[in-house]
Symmetry: C2
Subunit: 393 residues, 2 copies
């Protein structure tokens, strides 16, 4: 096990009607003038923005509103938010939405007190030194951004999708009401579930040995997702299954399932070029990429994939031939994704095989390699896109 | 799933040599004059207190020392600590030891700024309004106090063991170096492992249904303990197994494995009277009580015990007769405890059957009942002690 730090100071407030408490929590964490940042019209139509506004009013907290965050959140909206916050002397950002909305909120939070362009922090590793405090009211179980210090946004010029990470960007509080996710269409629900499982797998396939506790916690989240996701696809109003998935989504990404080990985030990186280019859902892109990446790398450590196959998908271990068990596990994962309505190849996603050179170019490795479970060259990335283009169940 | 709040703001710093960073963390969290609180001579003899002192000195932080915390920490030492902190204007408490030392530190932390008797907060539910900040350097994987807001101490007069809980008592940081636990004798190691497993079981047996994610996380910790504990009993220097157990101990008790459900802490309560009366190790007492409590209550929900039996101990599910599977699981647990050298009945613990009326009297239910998975009367508690008195593998 590697040395590590684990720090997850966010106060999570989970359950029915908890959005009505957001005013109380904004006050607890010092907010006096709030930007309510949200996505499409559904948060307005459902009455959620009204309930949140009333909760702030009840505490005597002023606020301004900025909606219109798109999936794969754009820099243009972030510049708009930064300008509005400065003009209105906003000192707290309240995100009401899913991961895109939270990530946009984090970008605004770090941009407001910064003299230069907020984009300076994205994809560069430049350390964040100051940020407005943020809180979240989550409406989609997927990105895990409500419990992480990470933010991923897209620069419209060139559709570049880049990330930034800092403890200063962790939510002070996150309000998680599973009932708010009950109106989500099955496709978006499944995209979210795929993202959650991918967050675990990116941490599970590691070259660090002897991390039994972290392995077991990973498997706990994966087993939960396999058990609960089909329930909500069949019955969107299943509150209990929604609740299990929502909390699993947070646990999957606050790094409790990742500590003590090297991690591999190449599938996320390879997917980001797909959703960057085609503006598809991140989870759908991951459903196409993640099992394809697995097929490309599993021979590096078949026993680790066989462990996943047996512990998570209940495959029978073939001790004579662990590679066979590994391959079965990967097939089970893809089959599961298909069963919840996810695309599993380029055609189903709306991507084109002839774009592979463009995707690889945008991925930007050049003659270099990425680190991770298996270090990948541009040629390897092209091979993974190729597997993904033709994947079948 | 019940509504819940989850808040675990402690910064965990895990791995080899991390105790040398404690000065840096005391500084980060605002300490300028520190009480180093520790237990027996082993922390001095091993050089740990020297290393911790040097780390504070390197940051220019003054400190005073107070050792001598006993297992089942006593009020007398706490009064001594409170007086010393007031006299020396201490503003930060650094606990260097195991759960007893941390619990004693928490009692001092809440006692220093309080006008009355610190004991007022124990067993009464009186809310803590102010406490000095604390940090911990952990030397035993067991109590989970390094990641919780709880403290349990013993009043010498009458040997009363009572608890208190507050977010204000959570460590600012916890330094966890598994190598520091390598010198622990097998018996103490096994006591710690039993305590860790008990912290999970107290949360696992619940009347709340549909908590798959929390169930799975519980099982993850239990599976880890079953896999790793025999390794350290066989080879005390196994750093990796020590590391898995140490982190499992923290995860078992910061409530990530307990959220969203009613919990049952009766086994802990019933055990506290044993370690209160006989001054035996808490873990050893739990090894005697916990399976006996299980035998007394499993018929209330055999399927939950059967789930534990199959998922944790690998028993075969008997769908015709789930009670049989439940009983098998409990037997597996007791057999496991025996295999790691724990006592499993009164005689092996050094307790006396004729003391049962005294134990029940001290438990203090009178004609009332405790809540939990199964509400217990004084008669029920006596029955559990009786099962424990005669338990066999």
């Amino acid at each position: 096990m590697n040395n590590f730090q684990f720090y997850s100071p966010t106060e999570f407030v989970f359950g029915k009607d908890t959005e009505n408490e957001c005013g109380k929590y904004v006050k607890k964490y010092g907010g006096t003038k709030v930007l309510i940042h949200y996505g499409g019209g559904s948060a307005v139509k459902s009455g959620l923005i009204d309930r949140v506004s009333q909760s702030l009013e009840a505490e005597g907290i002023e606020f301004v509103l900025l909606g219109g965050v798109q999936p794969n959140p754009r820099d243009t909206k972030i510049y708009e938010g930064i300008e509005l916050c400065r003009k209105e002397n906003v000192d707290f950002i309240l995100s009401v939405g899913g991961g895109s909305c939270i990530d946009s909120s984090k970008a605004i939070a770090l941009g407001v007190p910064y003299d230069g362009d907020f984009w300076d922090f994205y994809g560069t590793g430049k350390p964040v030194e100051k940020a407005l405090p943020i809180g979240t009211v989550l409406t989609i179980a997927a990105a895990g951004s409500e419990g992480s210090g990470a933010t991923v946004v897209t620069k419209e010029e060139g559709m570049l999708k880049r990330d930034c990470c800092s403890d200063l960007l962790r939510s002070k509080f996150s309000i998680l009401n599973p009932a708010l996710t009950q109106t989500l269409p099955a496709y978006q629900t499944a995209c979210g579930a795929t993202d959650i499982m991918a967050h675990v797998f990116e941490r599970y396939f590691t070259n660090t040995s002897d991390v039994e506790i972290t392995d077991r916690l990973c498997e706990a989240v994966l087993l939960t997702m396999i058990n609960e996701t089909p329930k909500v696809i069949a019955n969107p109003d299943d509150y209990q299954a929604r609740a299990n998935i929502m909390w699993a989504g947070t646990v999957a990404h606050n790094d409790i399932v990742g500590v003590g080990r090297d991690q591999d985030w190449n599938s996320h990186g390879i997917e980001h070029e797909l959703s960057g280019l085609y503006d598809c859902a991140h989870g759908a892109g991951l459903a196409v990429i993640m099992p394809s990446w697995m097929e490309f790398v599993y021979k590096h450590n078949p026993m680790r994939f066989a462990q996943m196959a047996t512990r998570v998908f209940g495959c029978q271990m073939d001790f004579e031939n662990p590679e066979k068990t590994a391959v079965q596990g990967i097939a089970c994962f893809r089959k599961f994704l298909k069963s919840i309505g996810m695309p599993i190849n380029f055609e189903e996603l709306g991507a084109k095989e002839e774009d592979i050179p463009v995707l690889v170019e945008k991925f930007g490795l050049g003659d270099g390699k990425t680190g991770g479970f298996v270090a990948l060259s541009s040629e390897d990335v092209a091979s993974i896109y190729k597997i993904a283009a033709h994947a079948k169940c």
